[in-house]
């Protein structure tokens, strides 16, 4: 066979390239939907579950919960997707066929110890912080996103964003954080 999928590396995903994101999405979509169709959910629900599984998987890669792949991307997506299907069926109290064994979705070795399946909603303070974050200049938003989200260190940011030196990056980062803090304080009254 016929296993024509090219191995996706964690680093490829971390770059956030649309090409890689789409490739992973398309390569696993049919397999997942084919699998999900047996659970009596609508096609829209199946697609939603697939997208949510993809997002959870990606969030865990970006937050560092998944530090390296020990399974194929497919396996992660299926494991998370199955958990979500089970959750959805439970929430909707969906009727499932008599030949369907609910335990099937629950009997996996889900990596719950490493994968964060649900994230808390933003608090009021975080919501306000987000509002102010979006008012920062593009450069600042990019720099902070590279550091806090993509996990780039100062040297990597320097290379990626064509800064002249590490000190310039550090100074820029401090300035962005200071501006953000000031904007919050200005609007606190």
């Amino acid at each position: 066979m016929e296993n024509d999928q090219v191995e996706i590396k964690l680093e490829d995903l971390r770059t956030g390239s649309d090409t890689v994101l789409r490739k992973v999405y398309e390569e696993n979509r049919e397999k997942f939907l084919n699998y999900a169709r047996r659970y009596n959910l609508s096609e829209d629900e199946n697609i939603d579950v697939y997208q949510d599984a993809y997002i959870i998987f990606y969030d865990n890669v970006m937050s560092g919960k998944i530090e390296r792949f020990t399974s194929s991307v497919s396996t992660y997506l299926f494991a998370i997707g199955k958990y979500l299907i089970f959750d959805l069926i439970r929430k909707n109290k969906k009727t499932v066929g008599s030949d369907f064994d609910l335990s099937r979705v629950g009997d996996d070795n889900l990596p719950t110890d490493t994968i964060e399946m649900e994230r808390a909603e933003l608090t009021t303070e975080q919501f306000l912080l987000q509002k102010h974050f979006t008012t920062l200049g593009t450069k600042c938003q990019e720099l902070l996103t590279l550091f806090y989200y993509r996990g780039y260190n100062i040297q990597e940011i320097m290379a990626h964003e064509n800064y002249n030196s590490e000190n310039v990056v550090k100074a820029a980062k401090s300035r962005c954080m200071k501006t953000l803090r000031e904007r919050i304080q200005e609007n606190a009254y």
């Binding site: 066979m1 994101l21 047996r38 997208q51 560092g64 399974s71 490493t114 806090y148």
Partner: protein
Amino acid sequence: MDKELLLYNYFSKQLTADQQKLFEDLLKSDSDFKKQFDFEKDVKEVILNQETVKLKNKLVGFEKEISKDKSVRKLPRSIYQKWAMAASIALLMGLGWLGYTNFAGPNYNDLYQENFQGYPNTVYTITRSDSDQTRERDAFVAYESGDFKGAADGFKTISKNSPTNYLDFYLGMSYLQLHQLKQAKTYFTNTINGKSNFVDEANWYMALIAIKEENKATAKQYLMQLTAADSYNQAKAKQLLEKLD
């Protein structure tokens, strides 16, 4: 140590064991440090949330494009007529070929190649934290890495004593990947006869094996099992049945 550097090392996952200890102590004893840490943590959370929304939008976009690609690709009316004429000529030329293929029957090898796709490991998640080097884990690692001989050997060793109902199916898949059809059929048959969750999948692969063996009647028999609503590969099974007729 510089507190800012400590926070930097924390967020870039570079804390040493000593720094980790100092970091935890400071969180408890230094309220300014804790305040700064909470702020940075919130910034991280906010960015994560924002990027998640962006990703969701991207996925919705991908989905729209995929649906668009799949929807009927209608040709513009102006060029439709040209194509219709060309198609008519091709149709006439093709009739001779059609007659030939009708007598010759379906091309089994093509049908097999078009429809065969390996089945992913959907049952055993190999996590980073796995400390137990179980035989099952090893077998699935082999399966995922394409070492189907190693996978088959591994699954066979554990299937004797294991109550899990998916091992026969993955054994069948491993043998099918190795083109050992006889063994593959044995394990798929076990899957179908047992209380496995992979009965539909086993029927599908048994149909493909029958196609590979150019056994139309048997292939149709297995495909018929998949024509019920919500069956695995229902649409593909129906298509294959049409092509075999």
